[in-house]
């Protein structure tokens, strides 16, 4: 893909439209958010393989499971928060049957900054993570989407939740040349004083914090945990052993998200002091994503503060 794309949803639409030619059984399903999620970029090109079921998220999920059982390769695209109203359908049909359905939740985290708390998805990683058979992927930026989504659609069998934002997507991983593989965590910066583990656009905050910490003489490793589940236990244990302290940051509730996923592994493999940076409670409206990240303390300053506290311990 050569075009310049700077929005996650644009990237989703374009990747799916491109994959449609190659993957003949690819179908895209949406619930009256074809334009908002850019699923319609696929729909315009392949109208016979594009299903807009109306404002009906529960139906959308079970319908996708039916398509998968009959042999199609369905990708569901809708707002992350509203997909969660079909949690029980995802659990009871897609999860229990291990249906080959990919669920793309857009507008996640604070990316839908203006619409406020009803639209801001801060619990989806937790809700999807607990479903047996479900994989959970949280790309950091457009480049991460471009490197992972084609692999996921073509080569990964079984249910997978793919969490992206709306438009906010600073370019973060352009300079890193890892290849995508489900279940892998990527150490994007090496360091041995502290490890900062992030998923999603807040990976940028982690990298900025690491740069600033270096000026203070603290070498911070930074891990892109885009594969939240299955989780890369070996890499997590490795950074825990080499750094001895861990900060996690996520555009999500501190309950059940990235921090919890890391802690679940490390408390059993190699316990080290940790701090979770994330959201407590619901979101609110603002003028842009940046304002919200700062308002809720999801920024490099919070990481630096938490790092210094941990190092002092």
């Amino acid at each position: 893909m050569t075009m310049t794309i700077n929005s996650p949803r644009e990237a989703i639409g374009l990747v799916l439209a491109e994959l449609g030619s190659e993957v003949q059984d690819l179908v895209v399903i949406t619930a009256d958010v074809g334009r908002a999620t850019r699923a319609y970029t696929f729909g315009r090109k392949f109208p016979e393989r594009y299903f807009n079921v109306g404002i009906a998220e529960q139906h959308m999920i079970s319908f996708a499971a039916g398509l998968a059982s009959a042999g199609a390769i369905p990708v569901v695209c809708a707002f992350s928060t509203f997909i969660m109203r079909a949690w029980e359908q995802i659990r009871n049909t897609i999860g229990r049957m291990s249906s080959n359905v990919k669920i793309v939740g857009t507008h996640a985290g604070f990316s839908d900054y203006a619409d406020g708390s009803s639209h801001q998805s801060l619990e989806d990683i937790a809700l999807m993570r607990v479903i047996h058979n479900m994989s959970v992927v949280v790309p950091a930026d457009v480049k991460d989407i471009l490197r992972s989504l084609p692999v996921i659609v073509k080569d990964v069998k079984g249910p997978l939740y793919f969490r992206v934002g709306r438009d906010y997507s600073p370019s973060i991983t352009d300079d890193y040349d890892y290849e995508y593989r489900l279940g892998k965590a990527y150490i994007v910066e090496e360091g041995d004083d502290i490890a900062i583990i992030a998923a999603g656009p807040v990976l940028l905050e982690a990298l900025e914090a690491a740069r600033d910490l270096k000026r203070l003489g603290i070498k911070a490793a930074v891990v892109n945990l885009m594969n939240v589940k299955p989780i890369d236990e070996r890499t997590l244990e490795k950074v825990a052993r080499s750094c001895g302290r861990i900060i996690t940051i996520e555009e999500h509730s501190v309950l059940g998200g990235i921090g919890a996923a890391v802690a679940e592994v490390l408390t059993q493999k190699y316990p080290v002091p940790m701090k979770f940076i994330g959201v407590t409670g619901y979101g609110r409206s603002a003028k842009n994503v940046r304002e919200l990240l700062d308002f809720y303390g999801l920024n490099s300053q919070s990481i630096i503060k938490a790092s210094l506290e941990l190092i002092k311990l």
């Binding site: 319908f63 499971a65 059982s69 042999g71």
Partner: protein
């Protein structure tokens, strides 16, 4: 058990006369027991069709058997894991669309309960199916008149349902769900229609067990 007995004839007719089972998802017929709590009736028919051994039936719901309290795709002949109400029709629509778009010959039969029509997802699904020309989809509603807490008329009346489905765009049929020739002639007629079809089959809960018939009892004491 009462709601298993109310759909025995419906499932017998479907699985002994209509549903062709092959391994090809596009040419086989699909039977989705959306009212998954009638699983024992389905399992009996799967045994009758040679898909599971008769001896396994008595082990229903035991750790030594695959036969779960509600249908599960690990059981040969089960097309969808059900048990949570209101999801079978959506699933069936997904299957039926893919069969049609691939030019397959398979038909999709979804068996639902009348109480199940309370679920909001049924509305989401039936309004979606109506505009997709799914002439390979037939829903049979086992109208035994009861839901978990009692009579439909007491818990939540649904007498208007045939009218609702008809207005939405379904071809609606009524039949006696215990009269085998009547079920067959209605299904034959439904299959010929070039639209999604729904059959409201009037049944008696607990049919065949006098102590259960027409009551909300779960089992013979």
């Amino acid at each position: 058990m009462g709601s298993t007995l109310s759909c025995v004839e419906i499932l017998t007719v479907l699985l002994r006369k209509y549903v062709k089972i092959t391994s090809d998802p596009l040419s086989k017929d699909w039977l989705i027991l959306s009212k998954g709590h009638a699983a024992p009736a389905l399992y009996a028919l799967l045994a009758e069709n040679g898909l599971i051994p008769y001896e396994e039936l008595i082990k229903l719901q035991s750790l030594e058997s695959r036969l779960q309290g509600h249908p599960d795709v690990m059981i040969p002949g089960v097309d969808m894991s059900t048990g949570s109400l209101g999801q079978g029709l959506s699933f069936g629509i997904g299957v039926a669309i893919w069969i049609k778009s691939k030019g397959g010959s398979g038909r999709v039969y979804v068996v639902m309960g009348d109480g199940e029509l309370d679920e909001g997802q049924v509305w989401e699904a039936m309004t979606d199916a109506a505009r997709r020309n799914l002439d390979n989809l037939t829903v049979i509603i086992d109208c035994n008149g009861y839901q978990l807490d009692g009579r439909l008329s007491e818990v939540k009346p649904k007498h208007y349902m045939p009218l609702v489905w008809s207005v939405v765009g379904w071809e609606v049929f009524l039949c006696d769900g215990h009269n085998v020739p009547n079920i067959i002639s209605t299904l034959d007629e439904a299959i010929r229609v070039k639209a999604p079809t729904v059959i409201f089959a009037k049944t008696v809960r607990g049919r065949g067990l006098k102590q259960l018939e027409g009551t909300d009892l779960q089992r013979v004491e």
